[in-house]
Symmetry: C2
Subunit: 412 residues, 2 copies
C-alpha cells in the first residue's frame, strides 16, 4: 500500500494543501531551497520537535506559534522551510531572522504572523540572511499547487541523495482518505545531528488535540526509531496536517471512534516508510538492518539494547564488511546497562539463523549460515532477552568509508 | 616523570614481581601470546573489572578468586594472560578452560588454584583450547624475570600498533618507591568493545583494602575517562599489585597516612599515561584531543557532555578532516540530555580560541583561528556549561578511514 520507490512516484494530492518552492540562493545559486506549504482554513496542524538544549531559532518560533494556536481559532496556515542554513546557534539575530520570515510571509499570505511556522536545515552557526528568503516568498506561494509534493521533497534535501515521499489511501467507515508525506535526512550513524524534517498531511478531518497525540505516537514508532534519545538535533521536526477536506469523513475527535485505529495505522505507515527511507539513504549506507529486541521487561530496556547494538561502530563496520562477527553484537548487548541481565537466557538470530543460545554460540550454528545473512543488503538482527514480553524494533545502516568521506568533506 | 615514549623505554623493575612470556600458537604461530606475572608472597593485589553482562569466563574466575583472597591470608600469586582469544561467550566449557589454566599454573607454580588470576583478550565467541596454554605455562614461568615488562607489553597486544608502558619513581617520607605498568587496547571510538587490559605494580607496601580503593580511584581517573559507562567490554580489567619489597617503606594502611596522597598521585600518573597511550594508539587515530567540561552542576553531567562530544561520529570525522566545524560540538552538547541547560550560558573554546559565547558564535571568532587549532595533532576542546563548579576531562581521538579499514577487516 505504501508508495516509496527510489524513483519519485507521485503522491496522492491532499485537498486543502498546496505546496510551492523557489530558489533563494541561500547556499547554492539556482537551486530550489525555499518551500511553502499553504493550508486552507479549517485544518489542524500538529508537530513534534527536537529536545535539544540548542534548539534552532525556527524551532523556538514554531513551538511558540503552535502553542498560541492551541488557545485560538487561528490554526497555522503557512509552513515555510529553507535548506542551506540551519539558523541554529545564531542567538537573538537568528531569532529575528526567523520572525522576519514569518512576518513577511504572513503579509504575503494575508494571515497572522503566529499562523506561520518556519523550518530550517543546513549548516549550524552561520547567520541566516532573511532577506534572501523574504525576496522569494511571494513567487514561492504563487507557485503552490496540490501537486507540488515532489518539488518540496527536493527543495528540503541537504546531504540526501534522493527525495523521500510516501502515501497511503484507505477507507474508514465508508469515507476514503489519503495520507501523503515527504521527509529529508540522511545522517544515519548519529541521525540526531543531521536534521530530520518531515511533513505529512491527510485530507481527513481530525481535531487538533487528537492530531497532536497521533503525531506523537507516529513519530515515536518511526523517526524516534532511527535516532538516539528521540528527537535530538537542533532542527528536527515532524509535522502532521489534517485539512479536513475529504468528503464523507466527519470530524475524528476521539480514540474511541471506530475509525481511529485504521486512520492511525495509515499515518504510522507513512511515517515509518519515510523513516526507513532516511535509513536507506544514510550517509554512505550499503545495508539496511532491522534490530528487533524481544523478551525485554519494558519497552525502554528493549530499546536500550537495540540502540546499543545499532549505534556500535564495531557492529556497524562488521555490517559494512559483511562479516557476521556476532561477538560484537553480544558485547554491545552486554554494555547496554540492563540491570541484572542473565546472559545465559539471551538468544540472537541473524534473520532465522540462531547464532547465540544460552549466552554462547548456538551448538548447531555454522559460520557460513550467518555469513549468508550478512551478505544480503537487507536483513534482521533479532535478540531475545528472555525476561519479559516487551518487543521493540528499530532500523539502522552500516558505517562505511563513504560515511567518513561525506562527513569529513561536508562544509569544506 | 612519566616515561611513555613510543619506542620502548625500559620500565623500573619492581622487586618481588617477575614477568615471563611464551608462544602458545593460540591464533598465530611463533608469537608470544601467553604472559605470566609472578608475585612473591606478601604482596597485595587489587583489580577493577568490566561491568558487562557478558563478562568473559576469565573475568568471572578473577572475580571469584580475588573475592576468596579477601577473607584469606592467601593473596593472588600468579596472573596469566593470553591474547588471540577472549574466551568470552563460551559458556560452561569456556569457564572450564579458564579454570584448567588456573589449575595447571597452580601446580607448576606450587600455589593454590585460587591464587591464580586468568585474563584473555582477542576474538569473542571462539572456544579457547586450554591445552595450548597449559603446554607452555612451565617455560613461561621459567622465563620470568623482574626485567620482563617489555615482553609482557608486547605479548598482550591485539590490534595495538605499539606496546604501552609507563613508570614513575617517587619519594614518600624518605622511602623511594617505583610504579611500573603495561597496558593493551586500541579501539578508540568505542573502546568498551576493544578489550582494555592493564597491569600496574609498585614495590610499595600497601594493605589490600586500601590498594583496592586506590585501584578504583586511579581507574576512574584514567581508563574510565576513555570509555562509555566505565568498564564495559567483556574482558576489561585493570590490576594493581603492591609487592611491599621497597626498603624503608612501612605498610601504607590508611588514607590518613601522610604518604597516601603522593603515592596515589604516582599511581594515577601511571594509569593516566597508559590510558592516554591507548587513545593515541586508537584504531586509525590521527588526533589526540582532550575534552574538558567545566561549569557543570555535577561530575556526572560534566561527563555526560564530554562523552556526547567525544563519541559523536560527526565531531570525530570533523577532527579527522581538521575542519573546525564547531556546530557539531554544540549540537552534541545539545543532545547530552542535561536538564534545563541554558544554551545562552554555554561557552566553547578550541585550545584558547573562544568560538561560542552566550550559545552562539563568539563575536570576535574567526574561522582561521579555529582552523589553526584543528590542524594540530593534539589540542583541547573546552566547554563551560556556566551552571556549577564541576570540572571533568576525558581523552579521545578521531574517526578515520583507517578505523573503518581495521574494523571491517579484523577477523576476516
Amino acid at each position: 500500500m505504501v508508495d516509496s520507490k527510489i524513483d519519485w512516484q507521485p503522491l496522492a494530492e491532499i485537498k486543502g494543501l498546496r505546496l510551492g518552492v523557489a530558489a533563494a540562493g541561500i547556499k547554492y545559486p539556482n537551486r530550489h531551497d525555499v518551500a511553502i506549504l499553504s493550508v486552507e482554513e479549517g485544518a489542524s496542524v500538529a508537530g513534534v520537535f527536537t529536545q535539544s538544549a540548542f534548539s534552532a531559532a525556527p524551532i523556538q518560533v514554531c513551538r511558540e506559534h503552535l502553542s498560541a494556536a492551541k488557545n485560538s481559532a487561528d490554526q497555522p496556515r503557512l509552513l515555510v522551510i529553507n535548506s542551506g542554513n540551519a539558523n541554529a546557534c545564531t542567538g537573538p539575530s537568528g531569532l529575528q531572522s526567523a520572525l522576519d520570515v514569518c512576518g513577511h510571509l504572513a503579509q504575503v499570505g494575508k494571515v497572522k504572523p503566529e499562523q506561520v511556522l518556519p523550518f530550517s536545515t543546513g549548516v549550524i552557526g552561520e547567520p541566516l540572511d532573511a532577506s534572501k528568503i523574504t525576496a522569494v516568498l511571494e513567487p514561492a506561494l504563487e507557485s503552490a499547487t496540490e501537486a507540488g509534493w515532489e518539488h518540496v521533497a527536493r527543495a528540503i534535501m541537504t546531504t540526501d541523495t534522493r527525495p523521500k515521499g510516501a502515501c497511503v489511501t484507505l477507507e474508514a467507515d465508508g469515507g476514503e482518505i489519503s495520507i501523503s508525506g515527504v521527509a529529508k535526512g540522511a545522517g544515519m550513524i548519529n541521525p540526531n545531528m543531521a536534521t530530520m524534517l518531515a511533513f505529512i498531511a491527510t485530507d481527513a478531518a481530525i481535531a487538533p488535540a487528537l492530531l497532536d497525540c497521533m503525531c506523537r505516537v507516529a513519530a515515536n514508532k518511526s523517526f524516534n526509531r532511527i535516532t538516539i534519545d528521540g528527537d535530538t538535533s537542533t532542527n528536527d521536526a515532524s509535522m502532521l496536517i489534517a485539512t479536513g477536506k475529504a468528503p464523507d469523513f466527519p470530524l475524528l475527535e476521539s480514540e474511541d471512534d471506530t475509525r481511529y485505529a485504521s486512520v492511525l495505522a495509515g499515518i504510522v505507515e507513512v511515517f515509518e516508510s519515510l523513516a526507513q527511507q532516511i535509513v536507506r539513504d544514510g550517509e554512505g549506507a550499503t545495508k539496511f538492518v532491522e534490530i528487533k529486541v524481544q523478551g525485554g521487561k519494558s519497552a525502554q530496556e528493549s530499546l536500550n539494547v537495540a540502540y546499543a547494538v545499532a549505534h556500535s561502530p564495531l557492529v556497524k563496520t562488521a555490517l559494512y564488511a559483511s562479516d557476521a562477527n556476532w561477538g560484537r553484537i553480544v558485547a554491545a548487548i552486554g554494555y547496554a546497562d540492563i540491570e541484572k541481565l542473565d546472559a545465559t537466557l539471551v538468544k540472537v538470530w541473524l534473520d532465522d539463523v540462531c547464532v547465540v543460545e544460552q549466552g554462547e554460540r548456538a551448538s548447531n550454528y555454522r559460520d557460513e549460515d550467518g555469513q549468508k545473512v550478512f551478505e544480503q543488503s537487507e536483513f534482521s538482527i533479532v535478540i531475545d532477552l528472555g525476561r519479559g514480553a516487551s518487543e521493540e524494533s528499530l532500523w539502522t545502516s552500516d558505517l562505511s568509508h563513504e560515511y567518513i568521506r561525506i562527513n569529513a568533506e561536508y562544509r569544506s
